[in-house]
């Protein structure tokens, strides 16, 4: 669509959910109640690794106020020898994650659950459950899990023919790296580590489930996909999907962490057994112990370049921690790491390592920051060795239309070079630095995604518009869909209401994740509106008694196509809506698609840090993020996604990490000790939206939610090197590490 003629696309319209959210009326997951509601609570394993020999729930069941107890026996088992996939989730692992079966695999692993008339009684009853554990040796860190004599978490996992904690391997190959490295004048090879970090949504997981006597379940919860909630609950409880209605609450942050569920199947079984609606709300400690986070990693990256700065070969081995059950985002690491560059010879490998900590969950551009961090740091070293500006090095090797990426695709038109060029030309890049300050740059890539989406667009009897889609709104999809609808129908955006339908009121729509929601839903909404406009033209044609082909739609009204069509005054949307019943009935249309054509998103960041030499604190003092949005349908939300990703990246690089004690338990499961960036930690984060429209999308949308968290880890690391002349190969670059490094240099 031509930007110059757009009236609503690209406008900062007032957000539709604002009034509810600033007045406290928005209903989040824990905010719904029902008459007769009781409270569910989980008993969790105190051990990081233990056989469960027996569970005796008799005393708990006998406690006054207890209405139901469930264990793994009540959850559908998916035997380990046969994979059953739901999207990217393997139900063998999901059923064991929701409730431990043979073994407790991490401290905090659910063992049993109780529903009682109060939360306090439920907690008391959990203490009365007797579990006979046989405690086993455990492995927390990647290195521990890979030792030859490491405790094996799962006997059914074999790697290279032997029992192993390596649950999977993925490889992307292009050309011949041996030949490539032979041509290199400079080769840099380094090993890097990152720590697990939590998504850190402020709203803990919560749900309310009611199951009626005829076996119909209603679930209120917040998630990144209520169809996922329905499907997963169905598979884990045995209720058919048609008997489950999942109603999406407003979501208090997800960042990937709410793409799977923990509570809903358990609450469903408790509700079914007790005959009462059951509410479950996690504490922050439970969130930190048993949900998310993303993987820790250990990666070795080797890059070779010629004297003139051409990268001839690149190799990466990325070991990612999966947690207790397989499924770390190795695809994101191995796939995204080298994706920004045109490199003829690539070998990129990902290894999925299980260990005795909570199962990892998607976190914003899952795996991509872990892959990009070592690559972007090694590039910085190569640029330094060759005496080439680091952004120029990227421009020399930039992936563009026609580049074959190691992870598969040949790129169509992409906007990566534009982000690097914009950074190169930005005043920030030339601004003088103060004492103990340094500047770093880095780039990043995220796949973006399409997938299943459903929409229904209805014209109300008074001539306004209601649009229903099926993806939870996390990053502004409602506001953006309102802009697009207003644009296409030629009406004011305030006449458009956009709702997220529950699983009973709209067709299957995949998760809000992978930066897919607006890409996919605007496609089905656009096609629905095209159908609605066709109907509106037909109705006008009927009223005028002319051929529908002779009617055009513009500015929110039907017009005769030309003088030959007749001389009629325009018929507005409201006028046609008023005559809808007389001209054939209600006006509306729905479209359901498995959308394709989401094309990659790229970002380039410039970061300035200042190091406090006395305290070892690294402060980010200036940050500018450049990102190709394809088309920014609502720029405020695009900027918000960019800033949010950067802030999370800063936390990952400088502060956040899980600390385990000698007993294999998380020692910092609170916001006090797991320290996420607060307002005084951060600078203003400047944003530059680059728009290179996606040729495969009606509005040019690419998806913007993820790419922003990919570059900060390396940008900050490179900036610290620039400030101190010292490279750090392990995140977070926390004060003790900085002080230790300063001591060795001094």
């Amino acid at each position: 669509m031509n930007e110059m003629t757009n009236k609503w696309i690209g406008r900062r319209t007032i957000r539709p959910d604002g009034a509810e959210k600033v007045t406290g009326r928005a209903a989040f997951a824990a905010d719904t109640t029902m008459p007769g509601m009781i409270w569910g609570k989980l008993l969790r394993s105190p051990h990081p690794h233990a056989h469960i020999r027996a569970i005796n729930t008799a005393k708990a069941e006998a406690l006054t106020g207890v209405k139901a107890v469930v264990t793994a026996r009540d959850i559908v088992d998916f035997p380990v020898d046969k994979s059953v996939m739901l999207g990217i989730q393997d139900m063998r692992w999901m059923c064991r994650n929701v409730m431990a079966r043979e073994k407790a695999l991490f401290h905090g692993h659910p063992i049993a659950a109780v529903a009682a008339t109060t939360a306090e009684i439920a907690a008391e009853a959990c203490k009365l459950i007797e579990v006979d554990y046989e405690v086993l040796p455990w492995a927390i860190e990647i290195d521990d899990a890979l030792k030859p004599d490491a405790p094996i978490l799962h006997d059914f996992i074999r790697f290279e023919g032997k029992p192993s904690n390596i649950a999977g391997k993925l490889e992307h190959k292009l050309g011949d790296i041996a030949e490539g490295f032979a041509k290199a004048d400079v080769i840099v090879e380094r090993t890097f580590t990152t720590r697990p970090v939590h998504q850190g949504y402020i709203e803990p997981q919560a749900c309310l489930v009611s199951v009626t006597a005829d076996g119909k379940a209603t679930i209120w919860s917040s998630s990144q996909g209520h169809f996922m909630v329905r499907a997963m609950t169905s598979m884990l409880t045995g209720l058919p999907q048609s008997s489950i209605r999942a109603i999406p609450a407003e979501i208090g942050g997800g960042f990937g962490g709410k793409t799977i569920i923990y509570l809903e199947p358990v609450a469903t079984m408790l509700a079914k057994k007790s005959g009462r609606p059951v509410k479950m709300v996690m504490t922050r400690e439970e969130v930190m112990r048993a949900t998310g986070p993303t993987s820790a990693s250990k990666s070795t990256v080797k890059i070779g370049a010629t004297k003139d700065g051409r990268i001839v070969a690149a190799q990466g081995a990325f070991y990612l921690q999966a947690g207790a059950l397989p499924g770390s985002p190795i695809r994101g690491s191995a796939g995204c790491a080298f994706a920004p560059y045109n490199i003829p010879n690539v070998l990129s490998q990902g290894f999925d390592v299980v260990c005795n900590r909570s199962k990892v969950t998607a976190y914003r551009a899952p795996g991509a920051p872990i892959g990009a961090y070592p690559v972007e740091c090694v590039l910085d070293e190569i640029a330094e060795k060759l005496g080439i500006d680091p952004l120029d090095l990227r421009l020399k090797n930039i992936a563009k239309e026609g580049t074959k990426a190691a992870h598969g695709p040949v790129y169509p038109r992409i906007g990566f070079a534009e982000t690097v060029a914009a950074a190169r030309a930005h005043p920030h890049y030339q601004a003088p630095l103060g004492p103990h300050q340094g500047r770093g740059v880095a780039s990043g890539f995220w796949f973006n995604a399409g997938g299943e989406s459903s929409a229904q667009v209805n014209i109300t009897e008074d001539g306004n518009v209601v649009v229903t889609t099926g993806h939870p709104d996390i990053g502004g999809s409602r506001a953006s869909i309102a802009n697009i609808t207003a644009e296409l129908l030629g009406i004011d955006y305030r006449r458009v209401s956009v709702l997220i339908g529950d699983t009973a009121s709209i067709g299957f729509s995949n998760l809000t994740g992978g930066s897919r929601a607006l890409f996919a839903s605007s496609m089905v909404v656009t096609q629905s509106i095209e159908k609605v406009i066709a109907t509106l033209r037909e109705r006008a044609a009927q009223i005028w008694q002319i051929d529908p082909e002779a009617v055009t739609w513009a500015e929110g009204a039907a017009h005769p196509a030309g003088k030959n069509a007749g001389n009629f005054p325009p018929l507005t949307l409201a006028e046609i809506a008023a005559k809808a019943s007389a001209t054939g009935g209600p006006i509306g249309a729905g479209v359901q698609l498995n959308t394709t054509g989401a094309e990659g998103g790229f970002a380039t960041h410039i970061c300035d840090v200042e190091v406090d030499l006395e305290l070892g604190i690294v402060r980010v003092v200036r940050f500018t993020a450049f990102q190709d949005a394809g088309r920014a349908i609502h720029p405020s939300y695009v900027e918000g996604q960019m800033q949010g990703g950067v802030a999370q990246g800063i936390g990952w690089a400088l502060n956040e990490e899980y600390i385990y004690n000698a007993k294999g338990q998380v020692d910092n499961p609170s916001f006090l000790d797991y320290r996420m960036p607060v307002c005084s930690d951060l600078p203003m984060i400047d944003t530059v939206i680059v728009e290179v429209p996606n040729p495969k999308h009606p509005q040019g949308v690419r998806g913007v939610g993820e790419a922003s968290i990919v570059p900060p880890l390396a940008a900050i690391s490179n900036a610290v090197h620039n400030a101190l002349g010292k490279r750090f190969y392990a995140l977070p670059i926390s004060p003790p590490k900085v002080l230790a490094a300063l001591k060795t240099t001094a």
């Binding site: 957000r15 604002g18 959210k21 600033v22 824990a30 208090g252 942050g253 949010g644 802030a647 307002c679």
Partner: protein, 161 residues
């Protein structure tokens, strides 16, 4: 199992009298007894700030205060920031218009914290505001638009004086 006590207080200007368990914290009291679910519980250990309410005008973590401690106090929650006629508090308008929220879960605590702070510090500048809300965690925004919204609300509040 647990002791109960009768308390009376005002919540958002309305007199409230209830019998509560002494262990019930103020956040649960407001959410479960009074039905004011705008007060959000994010960490139940006083760090995230989402549960902040005003107790006799002071910003307080309602997850760290017992309901019985609020006996006799005047409590204002996010639901009570707007005027009785529905006119939004300048902070509410500014957050809405300046995109001072994404998911909105931390928003009630941000609004109540800032309402108390700006009342006492009408001339607050950007560094002041950054410090003032550094006990409130937002994971979505990077705080940029929260600060922008607070600065704009401070201006409106000054002009309205």
């Amino acid at each position: 199992m647990s002791e109960k006590r009768r308390i009376s207080l005002t919540v958002n200007g309305k007199a409230v009298e209830r019998e509560v368990e002494t262990r019930t914290h103020l956040a649960d009291f407001l959410r479960h007894e009074i039905g004011l679910t705008g007060t959000h519980v994010g960490c139940e250990h006083g760090v995230c700030g989402a549960c902040t309410v005003l107790v006799d005008g002071a910003a307080v973590r309602s997850c760290l205060m017992l309901a019985v401690q609020a006996d006799g106090a005047a409590v204002t929650t996010v639901e009570g920031l707007a005027r009785p006629d529905g006119t939004l508090h300048p902070l509410q308008t500014a957050f809405w218009e300046h995109h001072g929220l994404q998911c909105g879960f931390c928003t009630p605590g941000m609004l109540t914290s800032l309402a108390a702070y700006l009342e006492a510090h009408p001339n607050a500048d950007e560094p002041d505001i950054r410090r003032a809300i550094s006990g409130n965690i937002c994971r979505c925004t990077g705080y940029q638009n929260i600060v922008a919204a607070a600065l704009d609300a401070a201006r409106v509040m000054r002009e309205g004086r």
